[in-house]
């Protein structure tokens, strides 16, 4: 037994954001991601940032935890910033290092683009931090429901996604076990020559594939034994419920969109 793995990055909680209908959250994030690209001046970026910060604060997830999640993309942001700093040649020259000059437009562009990127990642992270993967799956299945009429196998796709999610912790555990077993036989996963590394990877992947196939096989058998025969005639246990808060948040993001549209230059 291991209770140490968290699927995705979900942080359990009971905040307003946690309790939102996953469909609402998916829509909010979707709209937000679209309108981020409208922003092009200080007021619009300020509004977007305000929304994201309030959203994050309402989730009651410690800021340090969110920040840790954002750390890996810091380098990307820094890189974009530098790129824009030196490549954009607009407005007055502010600073000069040898042949390179930094323009006012460069700074502005660099900051804006980095901020845009940061906001995008922040909002999508908020989705995964406050919604269990299975809720996301339910939300997606429900939102894509209309596609069933067009013979898109929405149910099968959703089930596949749900089962993969269910098995992520199991596979991670398995990976760790195999790595340890091979390390005990002298495999060094952290370095070595190229050929040694390849061997190390093979010694991990082959057993992992074999056990995954076996799992998949046993799981399929178990599902069949429990009467699974496709989506036809199936009822559904999980239900989503749309509440007033969901409408309110969706309205807020709509308002944000309108304001953004009016304030952009």
């Amino acid at each position: 037994m291991s209770s140490h793995l968290i699927i995705g990055q979900y942080v359990p909680g009971h905040s307003v954001i946690h309790r939102l209908d996953p469909r609402a959250k998916l829509l909010i994030v979707f709209v937000y991601v679209l309108i981020v690209f409208w922003a092009n001046n200080i007021p619009t970026y300020a509004l977007l940032s305000l929304f994201a910060v309030v959203f994050a604060a309402l989730s009651r997830i410690p800021f340090s935890f969110i920040a840790r999640g954002l750390k890996p993309i810091l380098w990307v942001i820094l890189f974009t910033l530098l790129l824009h700093l030196f490549m954009t040649k607009e407005g007055d020259v502010i600073y000069r290092i040898g042949a390179l000059s930094v323009y006012e437009g460069g700074i502005k562009q660099g900051l804006f683009i980095s901020l845009r990127f940061l906001l995008l990642v922040l909002m999508t992270t908020m989705l995964t931090l406050t919604t269990t993967p299975i809720e996301v799956t339910d939300g997606v299945e429900s939102l894509l429901g209309p596609l069933k009429k067009m013979r898109v196998p929405v149910h099968e796709l959703a089930l596949m996604m749900a089962i993969s999610l269910r098995f992520i912790p199991t596979l991670m555990e398995e990976t760790e076990k195999i790595m340890k077993a091979q390390a005990a036989r002298g495999v060094d996963f952290s370095g070595g020559r190229f050929s040694e590394r390849m061997k190390a990877i093979v010694s991990l992947l082959v057993p992992l594939f074999i056990s995954s196939f076996k799992r998949a096989d046993e799981l399929a058998t178990a599902m069949e034994a429990r009467g699974y025969r496709g989506g036809e005639g199936r009822t559904k246990f999980r239900q989503l419920s749309w509440k007033a808060a969901d409408t309110a948040f969706l309205a807020a993001v709509a308002l944000l969109a309108v304001l953004l549209f009016l304030l952009r230059s």
Binding site: H4, E174, K177, I178, A181, D188, V206, I210
Partner: protein
């Protein structure tokens, strides 16, 4: 190689919201050449303890001394490689680690990693395959064409090929039928004696612990609850029951007999043979009195 745990603590995911203390205040010594069984109910930290024996895990505080080596929280894994050769671990369901095309290659995999010449490794593979009770023609087969029990033997041979001084076994017989289980336990015992190994066995079978081990370490909720000879550890069935463990069937029988008959049976009754003998003596004494 003596092994000494000094104030060992292990916290998984230390310094994170998911931190979980799996071991604390573990002070225990395993002397060279001993056969030690570790028992304890699920989640008590047995597997975590084992992985400290060859540096797969490092203590988050305290120290583990294995022969000349000392592992503490700030030792790098690179420096641990020599240790891995001296301490071989057979994990639960070891057949899950097989991956080569042939049995021979899989057995040689470990030794080659430690720089043993190929010829020598192959010679060893031939020797070991018989030692684990399989015939030599298995060597050229793919490990995945073998039955579950055979695969497990091959995997065990792969660990023995490292010629470890300490052999660590984590529930090695799970899922086997009774005969397979018995044969495997006898095999480990034979190896223990013939190669003068230090053997550490994690098991849920109190019968195996009583039969084979010189000493038993009882784990409970992350720390050592008791440590002593099987006779000492199985003396108090009620205390063991309180932490979810039982005594071997033979000891149960002895204790019930003592109670029902109102006698004292001097023998510890750790194996079937001992128990038969003890009961025989009991009846002989009565006959003698008449």
């Amino acid at each position: 190689m003596d092994i000494v745990f000094e104030k060992v603590e292990h916290v998984y995911n230390a310094r994170s919201p998911l931190a979980r203390r799996a071991l604390y205040d573990v002070n225990v010594a395993i002397r060279s050449g001993a056969y030690v069984a570790i028992v304890g109910h699920t989640g008590s930290g047995k597997s975590t303890l084992l992985q400290h024996l060859n540096g797969l895990l490092q203590p988050t505080s305290g120290a583990v001394k294995i022969g000349q080596e000392t592992i503490t929280s700030n030792k790098r894994p690179k420096q641990l490689k020599p240790l891995r050769k001296k301490v071989g671990i057979v994990f639960q369901f070891p057949e899950h680690q097989l991956f080569e095309e042939t049995v021979e290659k899989d057995i040689c995999f470990g030794p080659l990693n430690f720089g043993v010449p190929e010829e020598e490794a192959k010679r060893k593979a031939r020797e070991l395959i018989q030692l684990v009770g399989l015939s030599e023609d298995v060597l050229t087969k793919s490990p995945f064409d073998l039955s579950g029990g055979q695969m497990r033997r091959v995997a065990i041979a792969g660990v023995l090929a490292l010629e470890p001084e300490v052999l660590v076994l984590d529930e090695p017989t799970a899922g086997l039928d009774p005969r397979g289980r018995k044969e495997m336990m006898e095999m480990f015992y034979r190896l223990h004696r013939e190669k003068q190994l230090t053997t550490v066995l994690v098991t849920h079978s109190m019968e195996d612990a009583a039969r084979y081990a010189d000493e038993i370490i009882v784990m409970h909720e992350g720390t050592v609850w008791g440590h002593g000879t099987p006779e000492e550890m199985f003396r108090d069935a009620d205390k063991l029951a309180a932490i979810g463990l039982s005594v071997p069937e033979t000891v149960k029988l002895k204790q019930q007999l003592e109670k029902r008959l109102g006698v004292v049976i001097p023998s510890p009754c750790l194996t079937l043979e001992q128990t038969v003998e003890a009961i025989q003596q009991l009846f002989a004494k009565v006959s003698a009195h008449e």
